[in-house]
């Protein structure tokens, strides 16, 4: 009889990282569809360029530079999609191309690849583009791909929450933080609820890798994002505020986790 001996547990839940990545892509589909409907071919070109560039960059770096197997987890697709959604409809196609390559190369692989990056790769790509080519990245009056009715994004967000693919504490506290602070500043908060904000709250601030592990830490992260978003948005552009505040909170995530460790149930 050939039986195997292995360590417990002997059953595993059937969620795997691939499924979680697929889940995020599925959750983005309604938003992508509406964006394509509203903005037509230019949106299509930007999305395709961004995704293809991200996937190719990831594959090339893994294969030719790191000499490892080409990853199949699909996380590069998510990076490409998120980046594309943050761009203006009228950008030249080299913008998503460079942005996606930077996102993967600097935002992800430079930190050691999937699971080791500190910043959300898509946001790294976005930030580099914003600083290098502000004229393309801040065209007033031109819509971003994500400037769609926010409820479309909420459908996807609801799916992610329902499947348990994201840490719910983050969007919850992020929203509370924003609503509270904008109420405090006695400004009407309704204009905050734009596509980019919902995308940030549910799809970017919830990226598992770059957000806190500890339960308390997740609340702090969300509230921190909320406060920074409102403050930045008060002086500048809200959509940019969302992106910068998430990046900033990404950078303090390890610190938050270090200090927010829960007490063990039984002292050993």
């Amino acid at each position: 009889m050939s039986i195997i001996v292995s360590a417990p547990p002997h059953i595993k839940k059937d969620t795997c990282t691939k499924k979680m990545v697929c889940g995020v892509i599925i959750a983005l589909l309604p938003a992508l569809a509406v964006s394509l409907y509203l903005f037509g071919l230019p949106a299509m070109a930007i999305i395709l360029t961004s995704v293809l560039a991200a996937v190719c960059a990831e594959g090339a770096i893994q294969k030719f530079i790191l000499k490892k197997a080409i990853p199949t987890d699909g996380s590069a697709i998510v990076t490409g999609l998120l980046l594309a959604l943050l761009l203006h409809v009228n950008v030249p196609l080299w913008i998503p191309l460079i942005g996606a390559v930077v996102a993967i190369a600097i935002g992800k692989q430079a930190f050691g690849g999937y699971g080791s990056n500190i910043f959300n790769p898509a946001l790294v790509g976005w930030a580099v583009l914003t600083m290098a080519w502000p004229s393309h990245m801040a065209s007033a009056g031109v819509a971003r791909l994500v400037d769609i009715p926010p409820f479309v994004l909420l459908v996807g967000a609801a799916f992610l929450l329902y499947m348990g693919y994201i840490k719910w504490q983050i969007p919850a506290s992020y929203l509370i933080g924003v609503v509270f602070l904008s109420a405090l500043l006695t400004r009407d908060g309704s204009y905050i609820f734009i596509g980019a904000f919902i995308l940030g709250v549910f799809f970017m601030a919830t990226d598992p890798i770059t957000t806190p592990l500890t339960k308390k830490g997740r609340f702090i992260f969300g509230i921190g994002c909320g406060i920074l978003t409102v403050i930045y948005g008060y002086y500048g552009d809200y959509a940019e505020g969302v992106c910068y505040s998430i990046l900033l909170m990404n950078s303090v995530t390890p610190l938050i986790d270090r200090f927010m460790k829960a007490k063990p149930f039984v002292e050993g």
Binding site: M1, A7, H10, I11, G113, G115, K215, P264, F265, G268
Partner: protein, 402 residues
């Protein structure tokens, strides 16, 4: 309908390990060629050691090292049953007439053990006794089966444990969704005002007594009952039954209820200590195909066996057979920091950090992250989408730290 089916077929051989608890091995009280009866004490030793008894009548054919479900080979007494089923005389007692020390003595002599710990050593003075009636779902249902089949015996067993610890109140924690078990136990305890069932939501697994006790105590306090959370004694349904058998029937622990899953006829059986897993599996209709993995006790914390010739011992409550399709090993991916393990950890730890530190050999950091508080429940590794063998890494690190 009866939940538990006793295995009546007499096996061709019975292997009784001389060590069925954590601690030193017993010394055999019989020698090769001796004829023993059912219930006869065949192994004992210094104090702190738990005696073992024969579960068969027949001739001792060998005393040698044999495979054991939890340890490596252990000195065991091998008996060839003669089919006569001769019993020693069991001395039944009325526990209401007994002193605390007498009860503890009887329980010790009967060799009652629970997760490796001799039960008599747990019977220190307490205010409350809590029985854990939760099963490690979905495959382990022996606790439930015992409650449905022997409700009054379990209530008596609980009363015996209460008397042995001097406790004034007793609780039985049962899965809140299992109304059948709750009703059965409520009915059995209807005359005992100091015994109560407690419906609980979460499943508590082996080795988590503290969590379980805390949940029960918390509920009592929230209902306005005054209960000092200082001294509680937590035990299992199986132990209550064994205590009943020991005191009220005078019968030592020679049988155990086993949930058998992944066989032709999955069911709960009552197996004699010393019967091989193969005998038990054959009783349940045999394998469904070519077995790939045989696990003793639950899927979350149980031990995979290398042969089905290992005997059922006192602490065996489940056998799970897995086949090619369910025993596949998933590819391990990097940790994605998703915190699923953090959310399920009953000990409030950061399992992924512990696993990462253990993997890097940073045992100092493991200690700083309270590795010793891990109860090895397996929940973290169960939920991990990256299929990281977290518990295995933690166990290795613990070994190193020792």
């Amino acid at each position: 309908m009866r939940q538990i089916e006793p295995i009546t077929k007499i096996p061709e051989k019975v292997i009784i390990p001389l060590q069925q608890h954590v601690g030193a091995e017993n010394t055999p009280l019989v020698s090769v060629g001796d004829v023993v009866k059912i219930g006869q004490k065949i192994g004992d030793g210094e104090s702190g050691i738990l005696p073992v008894h024969s579960s068969a009548s027949g001739k001792v054919t060998a005393i040698s090292e044999c495979p054991h479900p939890f340890y490596e080979n252990v000195l065991s007494i091998i008996i060839e049953p003669d089919g006569k089923d001769a019993y020693i005389e069991f001395k039944a007692e009325d526990y209401s007439q007994l002193e605390r020390e007498q009860i503890i003595g009887i329980i010790k002599e009967a060799g009652v053990v629970e997760s490796g710990i001799p039960v008599h050593t747990k019977l220190s003075p307490s205010d409350v006794v809590i029985l854990n009636g939760m099963d490690e779902a979905p495959y382990m249902t022996s606790n439930r089966a015992l409650m449905l089949d022997f409700p009054s015996e379990i209530i008596d067993g609980l009363k015996i444990l209460m008397k042995a610890t001097g406790a004034s109140r007793g609780f039985i924690g049962i899965d809140a969704s299992d109304s059948e078990a709750i009703n059965t136990m409520n009915k059995a305890a209807v005359d005992d005002l100091n015994i109560e069932t407690v419906p609980l939501k979460t499943t508590y697994v082996r080795g988590m007594e503290e969590f379980f006790a805390k949940a029960v105590v918390k509920r009592e306090i929230s209902r306005g009952h005054r209960i000092s959370n200082a001294s509680t004694m937590t035990s299992t349904i199986g132990t209550a039954r064994a205590a009943y058998d020991a005191v009220c029937m005078g019968k030592p622990l020679i049988e155990t209820v086993v949930s058998v899953w992944g066989v032709k006829k999955s069911q709960n059986v009552q197996a004699k200590i010393g019967t091989s897993l193969r005998n038990v599996i054959e009783h349940c209709g045999g394998y469904k195909g070519k077995p790939k993995k045989i696990v003793v006790n639950g899927p979350m914390t149980g031990m995979a066996q290398y042969t089905d010739e290992v005997p059922v011992i006192k602490d065996v409550h489940g056998i799970l057979v897995q086949y090619e399709e369910d025993a596949t090993m998933a590819e391990i991916q990097p940790c994605i920091n998703c915190a699923k393990c953090v959310d399920v950890c009953p000990a409030n730890l950061l399992p992924n950090m512990l696993a990462a530190f253990a993997n890097k050999g940073r045992f100092d950091m493991c200690k700083r992250y309270n590795i010793s508080a891990c109860v090895e429940c397996g929940k973290c590794a169960y939920v991990c989408p990256s299929k990281i063998p977290i518990v295995q890494l933690i166990k290795c690190a613990k070994e190193w730290i020792k």
